[in-house]
Structure formats: C-alpha cells, structure tokens
Amino acid sequence: MVLRAALAAALLVASGSPVQEARTAGGTIRGRVDVRRAAASSEGRPAVTDLGHHGPRDTPDRRRGVVYLEEAPLAAFEAPAAGRAVLDQRNEAFVPYVLAVTVGSTVDFPNSDRVYHNVFSLSKPKRFDLGRYPKGRSRSVRFDRPGVVRVFCEIHSHMNAFILVFAHRYFAATDAEGRYRIEGVPPGTYTLAVWNDGSVRARREVRVAAAGDVAEQDFTVE
C-alpha cells in the first residue's frame, strides 16, 4: 500500500521546470525490462463448492509492466492527452493485465465471454461497479484522478488487472519482450520508474541530452 500510495503521489508531481513544448522536439527513452521474479499465482480461491473442474482459462501476462517518468515537465500536466482504451474480459482474464492511461481517459470494458462478469474497483482514485452484462456488451469508465486502480471481477475471484492513470503522458507499457519506448521527452534529467505486478520495482536516473536524442535504459526486476 505504501508503494502504491507513493506511486499515486509521484504521478502528480511536476518537475517545476519552465513550461516547455512537451509534445514536439523531444527525445526518446527506450530500453527493456527483464522481469526475472516469479509471477504470483493467477488461480482463484480453492473451488471447494464446485461440482467439477472449471474449463480452460487464460493466464494473464504478469510480466508486463509500465515504465514512466516520476517527474515530468509542467506542460505535460496542463494538457494531458485524454484517450480511450480497452480492457477486455476474455476467457476469464482481463486483457491486458496492465493498462496505462492519462487522466481523463475513458476505458471500455467489453465482455467477450459466454459467462457473466462483474467488473468493479474499490480503489481510491476511482470506485466503480459495472454490474453484470453478457457477451457482446460493454460498459465504460472515465478516469479523472491519477493513481493505481485495481480492477476485479466480483464473480471470478482470479480475475484482476491494474489500470495506471497518469497525470502526464510520459509513460509506456512494456511489450511481450519487455521493450518500452517513451517519446517526445523534453531534454532534462529524470527519474525513470518501473512498475510491475503491483509495485514500483526499480528506479533509475536517465538524461535526455537534447531534442532528438535517444536515451537507453534497461532494467532487471528480480
């Protein structure tokens, strides 16, 4: 909880540097996050009351993470680029397991399964409950406050996901190989943080020397 709170606070912090044009003429920070720690179990509670085995279900890719600047240029906070994202419910798993969006973004939660799901969150940045709806239907939630939102399904205890809501746009989710790329970063020195499976796992200082510069930064998460 302390780490989550720290992350939520960090997302709100501006560097205090002079207003700059953040969207253009920036540099790039890229690299790879190598997650070596064992992923926690993705199974649910013991199904003691069931009358048989459950069907096959997908396992979320818990090695995915998010790399972000803990401090960002002030301009980035003044006009966060609100967008739209999708957190699917597919084969009794949330896909993707980690979603990163900017404040003001709307996330759609389609149900792609034959069974009901009931998406909800009791996280402080956004409490919501979408109720039950069948396959082919979707509900949406707008995220107006930065922070970490833990998402669950009321019906399937093994289903959970994270939505990281940033007050700026300097973040990137890692791909299947752990690679990330943050573009348009104004020149400066920043603290780069790696978030994986519920916690900030590493921090590293990184410098973007000039517009058009590419700063490489790899991480190993034990």
Binding site: R45, P46, V48, F120, R132, G198
Partner: protein
C-alpha cells in the same frame, strides 16, 4: 429458557467427542492461522499459494452477532445459532495432476473443535469430456443454496429456513403416536420421543446446509445443460460420514442455463433417514425402510446490479406406525424462499429475503394439526465492502411461527466477513 450446563450433553454430535484441551488449542491455532492468512491474502489481493501454485489456500473468518434468539429460529443445532457465530473456515486445493485435485475444508465454530467440512478428490478422467467425478466428503448436488453457503456468497447473515430450521423430526428417535409428534410442534431445538434415543436432542432441518455428505458424485456436461448425480451415506436432513442404516441416498440436479442471466435447476433426492438404533427397538411388524424424499426447484436471474433468487424444497418423511393415533400418512414439508440483492453503489448493496416453511396436517386425539409449526420469515439488510476482502452486513429479521413458546420475534444482526 435453555437448560444451563447441559447444552453439550444434548448435542449428539459432540457427546462422543468431548473437546479436550488439545483440540481447543488446535481450534485456536486454526483461528489464528485463518486470520493471518486472511490478512495476508487480503493485502496481496491474491489467494495464498504454495509449491509453485500447486497448493492454494483460501479461507473465511466471519463473526455474527445478534440478540439472543429466544424462539430458536436461527439455530442449526442445539448450541449453534447462525446469528451468534464466530466461524473460521480454511480451505485448500492441491492439484495432483491436470486431471486430479484434492479439496479440503476445515472449520471451527465459536473456537470449538475444528470439524472437517469437505475432503474429497476431484477427477476428470478424460480431458476432452465434460465429465467429473468427486469422491469423499463432497458438496451437495441438491438445490443451489448449499453450494454458496459461505458467508461471502450469502447476501444476508441468516440461512434460509429450508436449509437450517430444525423441525421436530429426529433420525434417532420417533414418536409412537401422532400426539407425541404434535406436542413437539415448534420445539425443533430440543425434541424428545419415547422410541429410540430418549435423550432430548435437536431436530432435523429439511436440508442440512451446515454439513456435507460422504459419497461419490458425477457431473456431466456444462452450460447450457448439466447433470449432477450423487450417492451418499446420509440424507439431505442428516448428512453422514459413516452409514448408520445401510441405506444410501441418491440425489441429483439438472441445471439449465439458457443465458448467463438465468440459471434454473431441478433437484431430487431419496434416502433412508431413520437410524438403525430406532429400527432395533420398534416391533418387527413396523420395521421397514423409512425415507426422506425431496424435490427442489431453484432459479437465479441476474442482470446489471440485480440478483434475484428463488428456491423451493419439498420434503416427505415416512415414519413407522406404532400406537394409536397412528401416523399413517407421510409427513410433508415445503420450504420456499425468494431473495434479491441490489447494488446501490460500488461496495454497497441492499438485500431482502422472504420465506415460508409449511407442514401438512395430521390427525391426532387433540384434533387436526400440522405436524410441525409453520414458520414465516422476512429479512432485510445491507452489505458494505470497504475493502475487497471485507464484507460487513447488517439485517433485521422478523419471524412468525404458528406454535411453540415464542411465536414471534424480531432480530437485528450484524456480520463481519474477512475472506481471501
């Protein structure tokens, strides 16, 4: 008022197993472990798993408080009221192979000796077929409520009457005349009869949701149609680990799920419920097979923020006919309830349940009476989830009974559930 100091004596289940100190220590250890695991699991937001996920632990710690239930409406045995209960429940699932698991559930009520609630093996012999076998102390196939018995799955603190209320029938004692049965109307919490065990003891519910039966079961198919069948040692009203009458119960449920919003089930069960000790003391001419037959219908509809459930249980008991006025006709009972839950906002819901437990009339020297006193109950309440693994419930319950010393009462109950 209940007899003081004699409660444990009258509890048939515990007469043979007095609680020595070591069991109390085990119960306390389980309680402490349960609380610690619940806290850890709640903090992590994940079930506790061991051996690379091959063993998973889960649990539930619940505390329910209410004023004393002087009408014994909520007692599930002589000592235990479902509204005055501290329960620690630990469960585990060990995956032996892709086709085999062992499941286990142990619980302690009010820090008393822990009791194994479930212990069975689950097999799927053919990976590509929807066929599962379970053997051991298995979950009941009859009805729907017993498989969501855990406090987290129950929107209100109490249990439905059909699955908890103690009637005036016993499996180890019978009345010799209908008058002796009628005079025990509304006294299911402490019944005594002259034939069989003469010790006073609690009666039987229509379906006992507080225990599971030992046997084997088979499930075939999945949605939209599935069938579950079981052969077990005891009966719905008196599940058992060891057989006490050489009779087996056959039960089954056919479930139909035409859409995710609707689940309908039809259940049936038949089994010999009268213990051998009764058969041994009745005249040879009266010896026979005395069964509980039951049929059930359950429905669940849900959409959006609503869940609506309804369930009915019809049960027929046969008793030996001994002296006049003889109990010639089978004793029928009908329990039905409907409940609804509506989410008012994230983490907060309102719920209500209405139910009725009715009995058929039998002739006696004192007139035509139902063989037990009919009961009606309404309950309304709310549940609040401040954190994902914590559920706080509060409810008001009103009971009416057409018999017994206390014919009507109101109870306000609160319950805190910590699960992981």
């Amino acid at each position: 008022m209940r007899p003081r100091g004699g409660a444990r004596l009258y509890s048939r289940d515990r007469v043979a197993t007095p609680v020595p100190r070591v069991r109390s220590i085990v119960a306390l250890a389980i309680a402490a472990l349960g609380v610690c695991l619940a806290a850890a699991g709640a903090q992590a937001g994940e079930p506790v798993s061991l051996l690379g996920g091959r063993v998973r632990l889960g649990g539930e710690v619940s505390g329910t408080i209410a004023p004393e239930d002087l009408g014994w409406f909520n007692y599930s045995d002589y000592e235990t009221s479902s509204l005055r209960l501290f329960r620690v429940d630990l469960m585990a699932e060990a995956r032996l192979a892709s086709f085999a698991s062992v499941l286990f559930d142990v619980r302690s009520d009010n820090l008393e000796a822990p009791r194994v609630y479930a212990l069975y093996i689950r097999l799927r012999p053919w990976a590509g077929r929807e066929l599962d076998l379970q053997a051991g102390l298995v979950p009941p196939v009859f009805g729907a409520f017993p498989r969501r018995r855990y406090a987290y799955d129950n929107p209100l603190p109490s249990l439905p009457l059909a699955y908890q209320y103690l009637t005036n029938l016993r499996e180890d004692a019978v009345p010799s005349r209908s008058e002796e049965l009628v005079v025990q109307r509304g006294r299911g919490w402490l019944v005594h009869y002259p034939v069989g065990s003469t010790e006073p003891g609690p009666g039987l519910p229509l379906v006992n949701a507080e225990r599971w039966d030992a046997g084997v079961q088979l499930r075939l198919g999945r949605e939209p149609l599935s069938l579950a069948l079981a052969v077990t040692q005891g009966t719905l009203c008196y599940p058992r680990v060891r057989d006490d009458n050489d009779g087996k119960q056959v039960s089954g449920r056919l479930a139909w799920t035409p859409s995710p919003s609707l689940v309908a089930g039809v259940s049936g069960a038949v089994g010999e419920f009268l213990a051998r000790e009764v058969q041994d003391v009745i005249p040879a001419s009266a010896r026979g097979t005395y069964r509980q037959r039951a049929a059930g219908l359950d429905l669940q509809w849900s959409y959006g923020y609503w869940i609506v459930r309804a369930e009915t249980v019809w049960s027929r008991f046969t008793l030996p006919t001994l002296d006049a006025t003889r109990i010639e006709e089978p004793l029928d009972a009908l329990g039905l309830f409907a409940e609804a839950r509506y989410k008012l906002r994230p983490g907060l819901y309102a719920a209500a349940r209405a139910e009725r437990l009715a009995f058929t009339e039998i002739p006696s020297a004192v007139g035509l009476w139902t063989w037990d006193a009919p009961v009606t109950r309404v309950e309304a309440g709310a549940g609040w989830t401040p954190r994902r693994h914590v559920l706080v419930k509060a409810s008001w319950q009103h009971n009416w009974r057409d018999g017994g010393t206390v014919k009507e009462n109101d109870l306000v109950a609160g319950q805190v559930v910590l699960w992981f």
